[in-house]
C-alpha cells in the first residue's frame, strides 16, 4: 500500500515497510538523501554557485531559456533566504516548462529524426499535452511501446516505431538505448566483445519482442495509413559469428528470463487472422507484454535509465555516462545513488516534475563550476580516508571476484541447459509443422466431401424431373405409335435421362470415395496430436530447466554487476582521494622548485659580479703592458737616438728609466734590458688577470645550467601540478563535486538567442495583445487561476508556432546528424561563420522594440548601460573591469553608438559564457 501526502511543497512518502501492523516510516526527502550520497571525497568543500548563475542554470534547465533582464535584476536583488526554491516552483509553473520538457523528451526519443508518418505538430502536441498533464513516465513509455497508431488518440506515440521505418533491428537498438540505457548493437552478431555484460541473447531476446511487429499499409477509402501491426511471435534463431553455435530465444526483457508465453496450435494464434488490408490481432501480443513488463515498475534497467537521463539533463552528465552505455565496464559513478533514485522515482509514481524538482533542490545541483577552495588543507583527511577505503576495498574486491566467478559458472550452466533444450524445441517446431500439415489435409478432405456432395445433389435434382419426363414421354409415344416425332423425342429424353443417371452414379462414387478419404486424414491428424503432445511434454521440462538455469544466471549476473560497480566506484573514489592527497605534495614540489631558483640566480649573479669586478684589473694590466711596451720601444729608440727622444716620453714610470738612463748615458743597454724586464712583468700580470677572468667567466657559465635546470624543474613541476589539477577537475565533474559546463542544445540556443535579443518577448506581447483583442478574458475569468494558466499556454503556443521555423537552422548548424546520439558537443568553423556572417543573428541583435541593444543605446548613463547589457545577455551584473570596458567602448564610439551596442551584444552572445549553461 502506498499513500501519497504532499507537505509544504515537499513530497513525503509513507510506505508500509513489511506489512500492516508495523510502524509507518517517514522517508527522508529525496534531495537531502541525494546530498548525503554525494559527499565529496575528504573534506573538499565544493563552492556554491552565485544567485545569478543559479538563475540562469535553473531557467535553462527547466524552461529552456534564460530570464529577461528585469527578472534577473529582481532575483539577484531579492533578499529572501528561500528565493532559489521559490524560483524553482515559479519555473515549474511556467508554460515554458512543459514546452521545454516536451522538447527534451522529443530529442531523447526521436534524436531529431525526420517526420514520415506522424507530423511534427501532432507529435509535439502529444508530448506537450502529456507533460502538461504530468503524465507519469511509465505511462508515456507504455503508450509509445504499445500503440499501433490505429486509434487517432494514440497515433502520435506510434511515431517512435513508424518513423524508424518499423525496422525491428533499429527498434531493438533504440528501445535498448533509450528505454533501458543499453546499447546492445554489437551483441546483434555475437556476445559483446568488449562489454562482458551484453550477451547476444539479450539483444535477440529484446528483438523477439519487436520482430513480430511490422509496418502495415492499409487502404482507407483511397487514403493509405501505415500502422505498426503485429503478427504472432515465434522463437528467433541466431548464431554467433565467432562461435557458429546455433541458439534460439523467445522474448526476454533485459535482466529477465524468457517470458512465459501461452502455447497455441497453428491456426489458433489469432483473434483476427492476417489478411489483405487487415490489421491482424494475435491472441498474445509480445509488444503489449514488453510495454507492460518494462513499465510496471519492476524492471530495474528501465527505472535506472530514466532517472539517469533526467539526472544528466540537470547535471550535464549521467551517473552513468554516456547514458546509453550502462554496463560493468562503464559503471555508474555512484551505483548506490542510482539505485536509490530508481527506487524513489518508481515509488513517486514516475512523476517527472516532482523528480526534477527534487534534483533542483539538492545542494549538488547548486554547486559552482569553480574548483573547490582550500584544497591544500584537506590532505590530512585525505590520507586517513585512503587508509579506510583501502581496507574496505580488499573485502569488496574479493566479493566481486567471487560473484564474477559464480556468474561464469551459472552462465555455462545456462548455456548447457539451453543447448539441451534446443533439439526438443526443434522437435516441437517439427511437430507443430506436422500438425499444421495434417490439419490442412484433413480440412481439405472435409472440404472436398462437402464439395462432392454439393455437386451430387445438384445433379440429382436434375435427374429426377428428367427421369419423370422420360417415363411420361415413353408412355405418350406408346399411346401415339405413329407419331415419329414424338417417338424420337421420347428416345432423346430417355437417352438424356440414362446419361444423367450415369453421371449421378459417377458423382455418387466420387462422393463415397472422398467420404472414405476423410477417415485416413482424420486418423492422420489424430495421429499427429500425440506427437505434438509428446514434443510439448518433452520440451516443457527442458524449457523449465533452462528457465531455472537462466534465473540463476541472471541472479548471478546482477550480483556480479552490482559488485563490480561497487568496486569500480570505490576505486574511483580511492583514486580521487589519492589525487587530492597528492596535490599538496605537488604544490610543495612546485614551491620548492620555485624556491631553488633565486639562490641559483644569486649564484649566477655573484659569479657575474666577480667577473664584472675583474674588468678594471684587466684594463689596468692591459694598460701596464701597453706602457711597458712603449717604454721598451722608447728605450730602444733612445739607445739609438740619445736622451732627447726619451724626454718626450710622457709616462712617469718610463721617465724614471729614462732619467736613470740619462744620468748614466753609458748604461743605455742596461736600461733597455730593464725595460724589457718591466714589460715581461706587466705581461705576466696581464696573463694572470686574463686567466682569472676566464676562470670567473667559466664560473658564470658553470652556474647557468643549474639555473636553467631549476627553471626547467619549475616548468615541469608547474605542468605536473596543472595536469593533476586538470585531471582532478575531470574527476570532480564526473562525481558532481563541481558543476559541468553544459553546451546549450540547438533548441535552447535558438530560444535563448530569441529571449536575450528581445525577439521572443516581442512576439509574445503581440500574441497576447491579439488574443486580448479577439477573445478577451472577462474580469471574472482573470481571477480564475485555471483561465490564467490556459491563456498563458495559448499565448505560448502561438508564440512558439510563429518562431519555431527558426529552430531547424540551429539544428542544422549545432545538432548532430539525425538518428545519432545528440549529446556530444562539437564546435565547427561553420557555426562560427553562421554566427558572424549569417543574416539572421546580425538581424536579431539590431536595436529594435526596446531590446537589450536599444536599451543600451538609449541609456545615457554608460555604467547603467553596462548593467543592462550583461543582465540582458548573460543574466548577471558586470564586474568593475567589465563596466569600464563597456564605458570606454561606448565612449570611443559615441558617434555610432547603435553599431557599437550591437557589437557588444554580439560579443556577449558569442562568448563561451553564453554558449554553455554553467
Amino acid at each position: 500500500m502506498k499513500t501519497w501526502v504532499a507537505l509544504a511543497g515537499r513530497i513525503v512518502v509513507l510506505v508500509a515497510l513489511t506489512g500492516p501492523g508495523l510502524a509507518m516510516a517517514q522517508e527522508e526527502a529525496l534531495h537531502s538523501l541525494i546530498d548525503q550520497h554525494l559527499t565529496p571525497v575528504s573534506a573538499v568543500d565544493p563552492q556554491r554557485c552565485s544567485d545569478a548563475e543559479f538563475l540562469r542554470r535553473a531557467s535553462l534547465d527547466l524552461v529552456g531559456m534564460p530570464p529577461t533582464a528585469e527578472e534577473a535584476r529582481t532575483f539577484i536583488a531579492a533578499a529572501e533566504p528561500d528565493k532559489r526554491e521559490r524560483l524553482i516552483d515559479r519555473l515549474f509553473a511556467s508554460s515554458h516548462y512543459a514546452r521545454h520538457l516536451a522538447t527534451v523528451l522529443d530529442v531523447m526519443l526521436m534524436e531529431r529524426r525526420g517526420n514520415t508518418h506522424v507530423s511534427a505538430d501532432d507529435w509535439q502536441a502529444w508530448l506537450l499535452k502529456s507533460v502538461r498533464e504530468n503524465k507519469p513516465w511509465n505511462v508515456l513509455a507504455r503508450e509509445i511501446l504499445q500503440t499501433d497508431g490505429d486509434n487517432p488518440a494514440q497515433r502520435p506515440p506510434a511515431r517512435f516505431a513508424l518513423d524508424r521505418a518499423s525496422d525491428p533491428n533499429v527498434l531493438t537498438r533504440d528501445i535498448g538505448r533509450i528505454f533501458f540505457g543499453r546499447d546492445m548493437q554489437c551483441a546483434q552478431c555475437h556476445d559483446h566483445p568488449l562489454v562482458g555484460d551484453y550477451l547476444q541473447s539479450d539483444y535477440h531476446g529484446l528483438l523477439a519482442f519487436v520482430s513480430p511487429s511490422y509496418a502495415l499499409v492499409r487502404n482507407e477509402n483511397g487514403a493509405q495509413k501505415t500502422l505498426q501491426a503485429e503478427k504472432a511471435g515465434a522463437d528467433l534463431m541466431f548464431e554467433s559469428v565467432f562461435e557458429g553455435v546455433k541458439r534460439r530465444t523467445g522474448a526476454r526483457m533485459p535482466d529477465s528470463v524468457m517470458i512465459d508465453e501461452p502455447f497455441f496450435l497453428p491456426g489458433d494464434e489469432y483473434q483476427v487472422i492476417p489478411a489483405d488490408n487487415v490489421k491482424p490481432v494475435p491472441k498474445f501480443s509480445r509488444r503489449a507484454k514488453l510495454a507492460e513488463l518494462a513499465t510496471n515498475g519492476s524492471n530495474q534497467a528501465f527505472n535506472q535509465n530514466i532517472v539517469n537521463r533526467l539526472w544528466a539533463h540537470m547535471f550535464g552528465r549521467g551517473l552513468v555516462h554516456p547514458v546509453d552505455m550502462h554496463h560493468p565496464d562503464n559503471p555508474a559513478t555512484n551505483p548506490e545513488l542510482l539505485q536509490v533514485l530508481a527506487q524513489r522515482f518508481a515509488s513517486m509514481n514516475f512523476d517527472i516534475r516532482a523528480f526534477l524538482r527534487e534534483l533542483a533542490l539538492t545542494s549538488a545541483y547548486q554547486r559552482s563550476f569553480d574548483l573547490p577552495a582550500g584544497l591544500l588543507a584537506v590532505s590530512a583527511q585525505a590520507a586517513a580516508e585512503i587508509a579506510k577505503l583501502e581496507k574496505r576495498r580488499a573485502a569488496v574486491e574479493q566479493a566481486s571476484q567471487e560473484s564474477s566467478d559464480a556468474y561464469e559458472t551459472a552462465l555455462e550452466a545456462w548455456k548447457e541447459a539451453e543447448a539441451a533444450l534446443l533439439p526438443a524445441a526443434g522437435e516441437l517446431d517439427a511437430a507443430r509443422n506436422q500438425y499444421a500439415e495434417a490439419k490442412k489435409k484433413m480440412d481439405e478432405a472435409v472440404t472436398a466431401v462437402s464439395e462432392a456432395k454439393k455437386q451430387l445433389q445438384a445433379k440429382q435434382s436434375i435427374t429426377k424431373p428428367v427421369g419423370r419426363a422420360a417415363a411420361e414421354l415413353e408412355q405418350a409415344a406408346k399411346a401415339l405409335p405413329d407419331d415419329a416425332q414424338l417417338a424420337e423425342a421420347a428416345q432423346k429424353v430417355a437417352a438424356r435421362s440414362g446419361a444423367l443417371a450415369t453421371e449421378v452414379e459417377a458423382l455418387r462414387k466420387a462422393f463415397e470415395e472422398k467420404t472414405a478419404a476423410i477417415g485416413p486424414s482424420t486418423a492422420a491428424f489424430g495421429g499427429v496430436m500425440p506427437t505434438v503432445g509428446a514434443a510439448l511434454s518433452k520440451a516443457t521440462p527442458l524449457n523449465e530447466a533452462m528457465i531455472e538455469a537462466e534465473q540463476q544466471m541472471l541472479a548471478a549476473r546482477s550480483q556480479a554487476t552490482a559488485d563490480a560497480e561497487v568496486l569500480a566506484a570505490l576505486d574511483r573514489r580511492l583514486e580521487t582521494t589519492r589525487r587530492v592527497a597528492a596535490v599538496p605534495q605537488l604544490h610543495q614540489a612546485l614551491v620548492a622548485a620555485n624556491g631553488s631558483v633565486p639562490p641559483r640566480e644569486s649564484e649566477v649573479a655573484a659569479a657575474q659580479k666577480q667577473l664584472d669586478d675583474i674588468a678594471p684589473l684587466i684594463a689596468q694590466s692591459d694598460a701596464a703592458v701597453k706602457i711597458a711596451t712603449e717604454g721598451l720601444t722608447a728605450t730602444t729608440n733612445m739607445a739609438t737616438a740619445g736622451t732627447e727622444g726619451a724626454i718626450r716620453l710622457e709616462v712617469a714610470s718610463a721617465a724614471a728609466f729614462v732619467s736613470a738612463a740619462a744620468a748614466r748615458p753609458m748604461v743605455f743597454e742596461a736600461v733597455e734590458q730593464s725595460a724589457g724586464e718591466a714589460l715581461a712583468s706587466a705581461q705576466k700580470s696581464l696573463a694572470a688577470a686574463v686567466a682569472e677572468r676566464d676562470r670567473l667567466a667559466k664560473a658564470v657559465e658553470d652556474a647557468k645550467p643549474a639555473l636553467a635546470a631549476s627553471k626547467a624543474d619549475v616548468a615541469a613541476k608547474q605542468s605536473a601540478f596543472d595536469t593533476a589539477v586538470s585531471e582532478l577537475t575531470d574527476r570532480w565533474t564526473s562525481d558532481f563535486t563541481v558543476a559541468s559546463l553544459k553546451p546549450l542544445t540547438p533548441e535552447q540556443l535558438c530560444w535563448t538567442v530569441f529571449r536575450v535579443t528581445g525577439v521572443y518577448d516581442r512576439y509574445w506581447q503581440a500574441e497576447a495583445a491579439e488574443l486580448e483583442k479577439t477573445t478577451p478574458l472577462t474580469d471574472e475569468q482573470k481571477k480564475d487561476p485555471a483561465q490564467v494558466v490556459a491563456r498563458d499556454a495559448a499565448i505560448e503556443q502561438r508564440t512558439f508556432d510563429k518562431l519555431k521555423g527558426n529552430v531547424p537552422t540551429f539544428v542544422t548548424y549545432y545538432g548532430a546528424a539525425a538518428g545519432q546520439p545528440q549529446g556530444d558537443f562539437f564546435a565547427t568553423a561553420d557555426q562560427a561563420l553562421f554566427a558572424a556572417n549569417g543574416g539572421s543573428v546580425n538581424e536579431w541583435v539590431k536595436p529594435a522594440g526596446n531590446n537589450v541593444t536599444e536599451r543600451v543605446v538609449n541609456q545615457s548613463d554608460l555604467r547603467a548601460a553596462a548593467d543592462e547589457l550583461y543582465l540582458g545577455v548573460l543574466t548577471r551584473l558586470p564586474s568593475d573591469d567589465e563596466i569600464s570596458q563597456v564605458v570606454s567602448y561606448l565612449t570611443n564610439r559615441a558617434p555610432d553608438k547603435g553599431a557599437a551596442a550591437q557589437e557588444l551584444v554580439w560579443g556577449l552572445l558569442n562568448s563561451a559564457e553564453f554558449r554553455f549553461n554553467h
Binding site: 554516456p322 574548483l371 591544500l376 548548424y813 564546435a827 560579443g907
Partner: protein, 430 residues
C-alpha cells in the same frame, strides 16, 4: 591556504593546451581541443608537407568497366569500342580514355571488384563506407574517416570537402558516429563555403571590434574554468576567421588561365582544377562527382559523351599531381557504386552489374602502372584477384598510412576504423 589554479602566463597556457591536445589525441574525450599553437606558420608548413590526402572521383550512376578500365573488344559483350595501348606496355584500356591512357604509368587498375550489390543507394553506401548497409548501423564515409585519421587538428581549412555539381553548400550528413566535426563541407558547384564573407552592412573595423570584445569577455570566464570543450568553442571562431582570410583557397579563378584551358572549360574541368588547388593548400579529403553513367539506354553514346568530358580533366589532374610531387602523399580513387552488365540490352544499354567490375587507383602506397585482378574473356566473372568494398576500404586507408585495423574511441565506444572481418589487399600496397 589558497592556491592559484590558473596561471596566466603564456607558457603555461601553451603547456595546458598541449596537455589538452594530448588528452584529445588519446581519445580521453569526445572533443579535440582548439588550441591555436600551430598558428606558427613554420609548424603548419611542416605538417602540411607530411600530410597525406585522398581524392575521390565518384562516377555517379555506375561507370561501365567495359567502356573504361577493362575493355573486351571483339567479344560478344565487348561493345563497339577498341582497346588502346597506354604508357605502360601491355596494359590496354578503352579508346574512350586516350588522355588517361598516357598517364597509365601513374595508375593502378583493380579489375577484380565484386561487391554483389546492384542497388544504387546500397552500392554507393558500401563503396564509400566499406561496409554493407545493415539495419540499425550507420558508418562514416571514407572522407570523414580520412579526415579524422589524417587532418591536422589545427587546420583552419575544412578537412572533408565535397564538390557537388550544384546546390548552395552546407554540411553533409556522412560522418555517422564520428560526429559533425568530420562531416563534409559542400562546395555547391565549386563555390566557397557558406557565410565566408562579412555582411555588407558591417565594416571591417566593426567586425574586428566585436571579435576583440568577444575575446575579452571569454577571458574572465575561461580563467575560472577552461576545458577541451571551451577551447574547441573559442577556437572555432579563430578557425572561422582564418577560413575567411583564406577564402581565396576556394577561388579557382586564382589558378592560371592556361590551366583552366587545359582542364576544360566546363564544370567538371573547373572542379578538377579546384580539387588540385584545395589539395595543394592542405585540404585532406576532396570528393568530386561526375554524372551520369546510369546508362540503361544508349550506353555507348552516353559513355562517348561522358568520358569525352571526363578523360581530359582527369588526365590533367593526374599529370599535375605527379609533376608537383604530390602523388607520393595523395591517393586518387576513381569509383562508382557498381559497374555495368556485360550483356547489352535491347536499348543498347547496359544495366547494373556488381559481380565483376573495376576501379582505378593512383598515388600514395599504391603501385604505379599496374593492374591487379582479372576477369574472364567476356567479363562476366572475376578470375583472379577478387576484391570487395571492405578490402578496398582497408586498402585506401593503409595506402595513406592509416592502420586500418585500429579503432576509434568515440566517447568510450570502441569503433573499428574499417570492417574487422576483412583486411587490406597487400598486393595493392607497395
Amino acid at each position: 591556504m589558497n592556491i592559484h589554479y590558473a596561471c596566466k602566463s603564456l607558457e603555461h597556457r601553451i603547456a595546458r593546451r598541449q596537455f589538452l591536445g594530448t588528452m584529445a589525441a588519446a581519445g580521453a574525450g569526445a572533443m579535440t581541443g582548439g588550441l591555436g599553437v600551430f598558428s606558427n606558420r613554420a609548424i603548419a608548413e611542416q605538417l602540411r608537407s607530411d600530410q597525406k590526402r585522398i581524392v575521390v572521383f565518384n562516377m555517379h550512376g555506375g561507370l561501365s568497366q567495359l567502356e573504361s578500365w577493362d575493355p573486351k573488344p571483339g567479344t560478344a559483350t565487348g561493345g563497339p569500342f577498341r582497346a588502346i595501348g597506354t604508357s605502360v606496355p601491355g596494359i590496354h584500356i578503352s579508346e574512350l580514355l586516350p588522355q588517361t591512357a598516357k598517364q597509365m604509368h601513374h595508375l593502378c587498375l583493380v579489375r577484380g571488384v565484386n561487391t554483389s550489390e546492384d542497388d544504387h543507394g546500397k552500392g554507393a553506401y558500401l563503396m564509400l563506407t566499406g561496409r554493407r548497409q545493415t539495419p540499425a548501423s550507420e558508418y562514416p564515409q571514407i572522407g570523414a574517416v580520412a579526415t579524422k585519421a589524417l587532418a591536422p587538428a589545427e587546420s583552419s581549412l575544412p578537412g572533408h570537402i565535397l564538390i557537388t555539381p550544384g546546390g548552395s553548400g552546407g554540411r553533409g550528413n556522412d560522418a555517422a558516429y564520428l560526429g559533425p566535426k568530420y562531416s563534409s563541407i559542400y562546395l555547391g558547384n565549386g563555390n566557397p563555403p557558406q557565410n565566408t564573407t562579412r555582411p555588407e552592412s558591417m565594416t571591417e573595423a566593426s567586425d574586428v571590434a566585436r571579435q576583440d570584445f568577444r575575446r575579452y569577455v571569454n577571458e574572465r570566464f575561461l580563467n575560472r574554468r577552461r576545458t577541451a570543450v571551451t577551447d574547441a568553442f573559442t577556437y572555432s571562431f579563430e578557425q572561422a576567421h582564418q577560413l575567411m582570410q583564406q577564402r581565396d583557397v576556394f577561388d579557382v579563378t586564382k589558378e592560371p588561365e592556361k590551366d583552366a584551358e587545359r582542364y576544360g572549360k566546363h564544370d567538371f574541368g573547373r572542379h578538377c582544377l579546384l580539387a588540385r588547388r584545395l589539395l595543394e593548400k592542405g585540404v585532406t579529403f576532396v570528393q568530386l562527382s561526375h554524372s551520369n553513367y546510369d546508362t540503361h539506354n544508349e550506353n555507348f553514346n552516353f559513355h562517348i559523351e561522358q568520358l569525352g568530358e571526363w578523360d581530359r580533366s582527369f588526365a590533367c589532374f593526374v599529370e599535375d599531381m605527379a609533376a608537383r610531387g604530390m602523388l607520393e602523399s595523395t591517393l586518387i580513387i576513381v569509383l562508382s557504386e557498381f559497374g555495368r552488365t556485360p550483356n547489352v540490352n535491347q536499348y543498347y544499354g547496359r544495366d547494373h552489374w556488381s559481380r565483376s567490375w573495376s576501379i582505378c587507383l593512383a598515388g600514395a602506397r599504391v603501385p604505379r602502372g599496374a593492374v591487379y585482378g582479372k576477369t574472364n574473356a567476356d567479363g562476366t566473372a572475376v578470375e583472379e584477384g577478387q576484391v570487395d568494398h571492405g578490402e578496398l576500404f582497408h586498402t585506401y586507408l593503409e595506402a595513406v598510412g592509416v592502420d586500418s585495423t585500429a579503432t576509434f574511441d568515440i566517447d568510450g565506444r570502441k569503433m573499428p576504423i574499417a570492417d574487422p572481418a576483412v583486411s587490406a589487399v597487400s598486393a595493392l600496397l607497395t
